[in-house]
């Protein structure tokens, strides 16, 4: 994996007790009627950016959070996405085209809601059809999430120990997928 060059903002070491406690309140009307007098204000999400380099190209990824430390899966996952986007034509030696950036974007936003702070990073691999696959192979479990053109995303699960095997479409089965990912060691 190439060395990362980052243009990251300074990470603040605040611990945020809960995702939802620091979520923005939705009241759009009444906030203009009041002025808070307490010095203790609700934390405001900040824009963060990070650069990733691959095959001589640089990509910047932006997101908003409260400056908390990033989970361990963040960099490998983002680097994986960028590595796919910089694949040259015929990368598979069988005439494959470029990976569709919209598929990468959709995969980024779907996976965001599924990974916990300590989840193992999935591998990000390209498909010859222009789609992508996120995959885990851990402790006898194969888990693959497939994103492809003109197809609804889905995931495939196989437990080689128990023999269980199933396939589910997304986002309908996001809850199940979240549970399976959470159980990956």
């Amino acid at each position: 994996m190439p060395a990362l060059g980052t243009a990251e903002l300074t990470v603040q070491e605040r611990g945020i007790l809960s995702t939802s406690a620091s979520a923005v309140y939705l009241d759009g009307f009444s906030r203009v009627d009041r002025l808070l007098v307490s010095a203790f204000q609700q934390p405001v999400p900040m824009l963060r950016t990070r650069k990733y380099y691959s095959r001589g190209q640089a990509y910047t990824i932006e997101w908003r959070d409260h400056g908390q430390p990033l989970p361990a899966w963040f960099d490998p996952l983002m680097q994986g996405f960028v590595d796919l986007l910089t694949l040259p034509p015929n990368w598979d030696s069988y005439g494959a085209g470029a990976i569709d950036p919209r598929i990468v974007h959709d995969a980024m936003n779907l996976i965001n809601g599924l990974l916990g702070p300590t989840t193992a990073a999935p591998r990000v691999v390209p498909l010859s059809s222009g789609g992508i696959q996120l995959e885990w192979r851990r402790q006898g479990v194969d888990l693959e999430i497939v994103f492809d053109r003109n197809e609804q995303p889905f995931f495939y699960y196989r437990n080689r120990v128990s023999g269980d095997e199933s396939e589910h479409v997304l986002p309908e089965s996001s809850g199940l997928l979240r549970t399976i990912i959470g159980n990956l060691a």
């Binding site: 990368w91 691999v125 696959q133 192979r137 495939y156 196989r158």
Partner: protein
């Protein structure tokens, strides 16, 4: 050429080795440097392979399939294994590759790509340090 349909060719015996080039994007090296193949390598509906027997007939070693592809590995599955997963195995010679064949059938769902991968063996093992 997308959109073609292939029928199974019974003249291809079950023990025929079907050689598949594996680019580095489909390889995951473990801590010991052992390369593992992603199921993505075997998910294309019209999966291109080289028929080893044709290469042998033409006096070409299997490694000739990756002659122009530095850093790639070369894996093999058998025709019988592909057929056991409801795939058709067909010849599809091309001017630039007379040994070209196709493993044809839906692979993305049902874990077929992974099961094809599970039956694959390395013919030319890629080196982790090799540039490709």
């Amino acid at each position: 050429m997308p959109g073609r349909v292939f029928e199974d060719d019974p003249s291809i015996p079950g023990d025929e080795r079907l050689l598949r080039r594996i680019p580095r994007s489909w390889i995951d090296w473990d801590e010991d440097g052992t390369p593992a193949i992603s199921s993505a390598a075997f998910k294309h509906e019209e999966l291109s392979v080289n028929l080893e027997s044709v290469m042998v007939r033409d006096g070409r070693p299997p490694a000739d399939a990756i002659r122009n592809y530095a850093g790639h590995g070369l894996a093999a599955i058998t025709a019988a294994h592909a057929r056991s997963l409801n795939q058709a195995v067909a010849r599809d010679p091309q001017p630039e590759e007379p040994a070209h064949g196709v493993v044809y059938g839906r692979k993305k769902s049902g874990g077929v790509g992974g099961k094809l991968r599970d039956g694959a063996t390395w013919v030319v093992t890629p080196l982790q340090s090799e540039i490709g």
